[in-house]
């Protein structure tokens, strides 16, 4: 599913959006710590039944009913191409507001566990290092160094680029591909 990933930014970090000092919600993915600006977070909910939606990128887990509103849920592990792990008791969904073409939309982000809300000062933030073409650091705002721990501060807007997610049209599961093929056979 490489077509859903952005092209690696070879020139390193060129984004003008630098991490700002302030409150961050930190969460865990595998053994890494990430942070999202607290102002983007709407709420944190426990894991609930997620309804799969066909023909979506693999990292779109599906949709949930958030008090009468249907919102999509993104599996951040899958989005970052990390090892897939069974959901645990600690797994939870962080609902964030993301800017899109038609105003802000709420999107759920499935993470391993939420950690804490941290106040990060400007001097504790460093620019994301460049790794060359291997790792895409485009959606990293900066790196927070608090005591000895390192928190990766995410530009959640970039991570959940709505225009990318909605490219579902191009993403067809292998099985439905065969169905389409079948339909073509029929009409041939």
């Amino acid at each position: 599913m490489s077509e859903t990933r952005t092209a690696p930014n070879t020139s390193g970090v060129t984004t003008s959006s630098k991490a700002k000092a302030g409150k961050y919600l930190t969460f865990r993915l595998a053994d890494e710590e990430y942070g999202i600006e607290i102002l983007r977070v709407r709420e944190i909910i426990g894991l609930m039944d997620i309804t799969q939606v066909p023909r979506t990128p693999h990292y779109v887990r599906g949709v949930i009913n958030l008090r009468g509103k249907v919102i999509p849920v993104i599996d951040l592990r899958m989005k970052f191409d990390m090892n897939v792990q069974e959901d645990t008791e600690e797994s939870c969904i962080i609902v964030v507001d993301v800017a899109s073409a038609d105003g802000t939309v709420s999107i759920g982000v499935l993470v391993d566990a939420v950690s804490e809300v941290l106040n990060i000062r400007q001097e504790e933030i460093e620019d994301a290092p460049s790794f060359g073409s291997g790792i895409d650091v485009d959606y990293i705002l900066g790196i927070g160094k608090i005591k000895n721990a390192v928190k990766i501060l995410l530009n959640i807007n970039k991570v959940l680029d709505a225009s990318q997610i909605s490219l579902i049209d191009n993403v067809v599961t292998a099985e439905s591909e065969s169905l389409i093929e079948m339909a073509e056979v029929k009409s041939a």
Partner: protein
């Protein structure tokens, strides 16, 4: 010279900031122009003259209620710009272009020494048409408050609707005076707000329309025929401008509407200017005759006496009120006249109030939707508590009583929530009346529209979405259904054609009937056309209904000639698509020579869907009941395969493509297809396919939810439904899935199926020969 330059720069800045009705600021500018003239202090210099002319212009702006004030400002700024060029850039006066109007404006002022006679004013106005041509109309909302603008747009639209309705009332012969006043007020309010928000195109247009209406208000002209059309056009153009403003607001860009505004302004001004030539006898009865009528009705006045008086009034002074004349000539006692006048006023008040005295609160639709969402959640939470095994196991009378009370309250709340989304059809029908009026004029047909059920309340979404299909269908009736007056006379029908539209509730659905007494649908011609366009299988037996349904196919039109209104073959397929998107269905009845009746049936609300809940690999899906034909148990001997992949089911001799939902949605996890389960046969138009599912769970009414913009390109899923346990079930988009089976939608519905059937027969033949050999 430096002092002079500074003065000019100052005036230039002031001019940029000033609004044309800000008198103190204008006064300051006036002083500055005079100051410039004083500084130059050389009466022979052209620059001095220019400054004086500018000062005069400003004075005119301050003193006179001149038309097209904003045009004056642009003349002024152009003049100042020219002055700047002379002084700052040290250019010769002859090289610099001063606006012509600067000089002519002064000439005009001298010529028309404050003559307030309409003719002089017209001359002035037509002089201004020129000046306005030179300027451009641009919608620029970059610096405006978007929430204020949004409110303005909504409000202005309402005003447009009111004005339109009032205009229709005038046409149907209701009291024109109060209606004209109402229209005038609407335009006036729009004008005021547009001025405040600096929306020049809207301001100017509203202003000119207001001028026209003001003449009507004074009784100088009547709003009839061409003038009524003019006002209709102005309303339309205003709507367009509002739309443009909205676009500009959304996309944050400026939009140039100069062309459209200038053309309508031109026409408006011509209409205003041409008032004398258009005057006819019908005009003067607008205002006075009503009073006369009242007096005649009350027996105070004889008709003959009234007519004499009216003639007298025409001769002496058409502007004098009948009331004054009556008392003057002592034809009627003053007291009676006063009574009648009061009566008239009361009537006018009643008319404008129009029985719509219900108080309303405007609520943001988003907030309303959120409230309804929350109520929906409450219902789910309530049922979860009410059906909880542990609570039920308690078996305590007071708990079950409380729960049933809770249940009752939530249901009530839910109903109220649903009712909040309802709006009466009145506004939509209003639009139709307008459309019929315009269409009938264009097509040169004599017809009337009879509307019933204007107060039928429908879901807001439906009211909005049904409007286009209804207009299309009415258009169709006007153009194809209703015959020309000559034809009608020949057939012995009343000359005036009739189109009836009604809306009513029946059995949890809303029905719309569109009926005309025209020539009816011509079955033979429809069939011939369909064959000609290769849309149908020539040998197939077709019921009347099947044949009528052909008109909903894209590219289908029986009209022998393409008219301005219809006959291009688009339209009815749009109707079909619109109605289907609202999960509605339709029925056509037609009697040759007698007329056609379209009945539309729509669900009460778009928020709830009637669906078949099915289970596939433990995922829940909903198939809209409307498209379900039947369901049957799947068994291996019913299935045929093509090339071992494509599957068909033999349904009583009819072969249908079979689609497995688990495969389609990637739920099978690599399991082999089993030949057990249930097939749900679904239909879209004339195409049927079988969907293989695991289990039918029954029929449910579920709240429908959009999946949001992220999934807007989903073709097989039309939305999500909140199930009774709070989870989401996907609603299958049957037409999307059927289209997949066809793979090439544009091929047309019938060709393809024929193709498939050919394939199958060949395949069957092959199987057969294998078996026999």
């Amino acid at each position: 010279m430096d002092g002079l330059q500074e003065q000019i720069e100052l005036v230039a800045t002031d001019l940029v900031l000033v609004s044309s009705d800000d008198v103190p600021a204008l006064a300051a500018i006036h002083d500055k122009f005079q100051g410039i003239a004083q500084t130059i202090n050389d009466e022979g210099s052209r620059l001095y003259q220019a400054a004086r002319c500018c000062a005069n212009l400003v004075e005119k702006l301050i003193l006179n209620d001149v038309e097209g004030r904003s045009a004056f400002l642009s003349i002024l700024s152009n003049s100042v710009m020219a002055m700047q060029e002379v002084i700052r850039d040290k250019r010769d006066f002859s090289e610099v272009h001063f606006p012509e109007e600067l000089w002519s404006g002064v000439m005009q002022e001298h010529a028309s020494t404050k003559d307030e006679s309409p003719l002089a004013r017209n001359a002035e106005e037509s002089g201004e048409i020129k000046s306005e041509e030179a300027e451009s109309f641009i919608i620029d909302v970059q610096n405006s408050d978007s929430s204020l603008l949004g409110e303005f747009i909504t409000e202005a639209r309402e005003h447009c609707a009111t004005a339109e309705q009032m205009l229709m009332d005038i046409e149907t012969g209701q009291d024109p005076e109060s209606a004209i006043n109402a229209i005038f007020r609407s335009f006036h309010t729009i004008k005021g707000a547009a001025g405040f928000l600096d929306l020049k195109p809207i301001l100017v247009l509203a202003h000119e329309s207001e001028t026209l209406l003001d003449l009507a208000r004074k009784g100088d002209i009547s709003i009839e025929g061409r003038r009524a059309d003019m006002v209709f056009d102005s309303i339309d153009r205003l709507r367009e401008l509002l739309k443009e403003t909205e676009n500009s607001l959304n996309e944050r860009k400026t939009i140039d509407v100069t062309g459209s505004v200038i053309s309508i302004l031109h026409r408006l001004k011509e209409t205003i200017a041409g008032k004398d030539s258009l005057e006819d006898s019908a005009i003067d009865i607008t205002n006075p005759k009503r009073l006369g009528e009242l007096l005649v009705d009350e027996g105070v006045l004889e008709i003959g006496a009234l007519e004499d008086l009216l003639a007298q009034q025409m001769q002496t002074d058409p502007k004098e009120k009948l009331g004054t004349l009556l008392t003057k000539t002592q034809t009627a006692p003053a007291k009676k006249v006063a009574q009648a006048l009061r009566h008239q006023k009361d009537q006018a008040r009643e008319m404008t109030a129009g029985g719509m005295v219900r108080e309303v609160v405007k609520v943001d639709t988003e907030r309303l939707d959120r409230l309804i969402d929350t109520i929906g959640e409450l219902v789910i939470a309530e049922s979860m508590v009410g059906q909880d095994d542990h609570i039920l196991a308690l078996d305590l009378p007071h708990i079950s009583r409380n729960i049933s009370h809770l249940n009752k309250v939530t249901r009530e709340l839910q109903e109220m929530g649903m009712a909040m989304r309802l709006v009466p059809m009145r506004a939509t029908f209003q639009k139709l009346k307008r459309a019929v009026r315009d269409l009938a004029k264009k097509a040169d047909k004599n017809l009337k529209l009879v509307v019933s059920g204007e107060d039928t309340e429908v879901d807001r979404g439906i009211a909005e979405q049904i409007s286009d299909p209804l207009v299309h269908m009415v258009r169709n009736s006007v153009d194809h259904g209703i015959e020309t007056p000559e034809e009608r006379i020949k057939k012995g029908k009343p000359v005036e054609g009739e189109i009836r539209i009604s809306a009513y509730h029946k059995g949890g659905n809303i029905y719309f009937d569109i009926e005309d007494d025209g020539r009816g649908l011509d079955k033979e011609r429809i069939l011939a056309k369909a064959r000609e366009k290769d849309l149908i299988d020539t040998n197939k037996e077709m019921t009347d209904r099947d044949i009528y349904n052909l008109i909903f196919l894209p590219g289908f039109s029986t009209a022998s000639q393409v008219t301005d209104i219809s006959g291009r073959g688009v339209g009815m397929d749009v109707v079909k698509r619109n109605i289907e998107s609202m999960r509605g269905c339709w029925d056509i009845e037609s009697n040759p020579g007698k007329g056609t009746k379209f009945s539309l049936r729509l669900p009460l609300t778009l928020a709830v869907i009637d669906g078949m809940l099915v289970d596939v690999e433990n995922e829940k899906f909903i198939i809209p009941t409307l498209s379900v034909v039947e369901s049957l148990q799947l068994s291996p001997d019913l299935i045929y395969t093509i090339k071992n992949r494509a599957e068909m089911i033999n349904l009583r001799g009819e072969l249908l493509p079979l689609i497995r939902i688990n495969r389609l949605f990637g739920l099978s996890n690599g399991k082999k297809d089993c030949n057990e389960g249930t097939v749900v046969v679904v239909q879209d138009l004339n195409k049927k396919i079988g969907l293989v599912i695991d289990r039918l769970l029954g029929q449910r009414q579920t709240v429908i939810k959009s999946l949001g913009s992220l999934f807007s390109r989903q073709k097989w899923v039309s939305g999500g439904a909140i199930l009774s346990n709070g989870n989401i079930g996907l609603i299958l988009d049957v037409s999307g899935i059927i289209a997949l089976a066809g793979s090439e939608e544009s091929e047309g519905y019938f060709n393809l199926k024929a193709g498939i059937e050919n394939d199958i027969s060949r395949e069957k033949g092959r199987i057969h020969s294998e078996v026999t050999s």
